[in-house]
């Protein structure tokens, strides 16, 4: 019965896939459709960065990125609302903790590097933030219950930092009469860097906290479960 169902589903989906492939081919056969790349490259000099992907993320479509940071924040808030974190693993052995002492600074350093080069080379806030988060994961694997994160209060400020700086910059430009997130050209580079820095910290903290998987204990003692 189950097998039959899964076969039927399989057949339908195969048909769907073939249809989609045909449509894709039709779309591609219509020739090289228009694309936004040329406009994106043309606008690049005024954005203050030279990596086109960063330009799209932070300048052309900065609003998307702002909301995306909101998604990340929402996920963590959801995770926190579900309960307290479980205690981590048993303390790591000497060898592992030695490795951690080596790997974590390396990850943080690489993260910083990626953040900095993001303006003109592959890299940027997300990749950098991911490395920070990875550092947290490694620390928790090595037995640090908090994944190297600070206390709950600081954590709360850190996770909102990315969205907060982003939206405040947006409102500031709005107040200057420029329109939401329209950076003045002279400041553009630095504003983007500031936003990226805040975003990196927020992403790193959020990802590590998500890995911890529940709200930190200190809060739990005050509130209790629901």
């Amino acid at each position: 019965m189950r097998r039959a169902a899964s076969l039927i589903i399989g057949a339908i989906i195969t048909a769907l896939a073939l249809w989609l492939l045909w449509v894709l081919q039709t779309a591609l056969d219509m020739g090289a459709g228009p694309r936004l790349a040329e406009q994106a490259f043309a606008g690049l000099p005024t954005t203050g960065v030279s990596n086109p992907v960063t330009a799209v993320l932070l300048s052309y479509r900065g609003y998307d990125t702002l909301l995306e940071l909101g998604v990340l924040l929402a996920a963590l808030l959801g995770i926190w609302s579900l309960g307290v974190a479980s205690p981590g693993f048993q303390p790591a052995g000497v060898v592992l903790s030695g490795m951690v002492r080596l790997v974590v600074p390396l990850l943080v350093l690489t993260g910083g590097y990626l953040l900095w080069v993001g303006g003109y080379a592959p890299g940027g806030a997300f990749q950098a933030g991911a490395l920070l988060g990875a550092a947290g994961v490694v620390m928790r694997l090595a037995g640090d219950e908090t994944a190297g994160l600070p206390g709950i209060r600081a954590q709360r400020w850190l996770i909102v930092a990315g969205v907060a700086v982003f939206v405040l910059v947006g409102l500031a430009t709005l107040a200057l009469g420029q329109g939401f997130l329209s950076y003045p050209q002279a400041w553009s580079k630095w504003l983007i860097l500031a936003i990226e820095t805040a975003a990196t910290v927020a992403i790193g903290t959020t990802l590590a906290a998500a890995y911890v998987g529940g709200r930190p204990w200190s809060h739990a003692v005050v509130g209790g479960r629901d």
Partner: protein, 92 residues
Amino acid sequence: MEQLLYGGAGVILFALGLWAFLVYEPLLRKLIALNIMGSGVFHLLIAIAERGELPPDPVPHALVLTGIVVAVSATALALAMGRRLEDDSGGR
């Protein structure tokens, strides 16, 4: 040709993920399926950004970057909910 090859791979990944999502019951399986589905869509976007001689289109790249972060956020939330369920049923 290249676009069709890679784009087609994206479509196939999407279909595979969809199939697995509908067929498998456990949460983790469904999440893997969803992520592969998403990867298929992302892959399609990356494939159409690549146009031979021209430099690749950065806009789909940025969209995919956004998509990846969204996907991982959703995965994390879903896993946390799954763990909550496990804890509750385990505690009983």
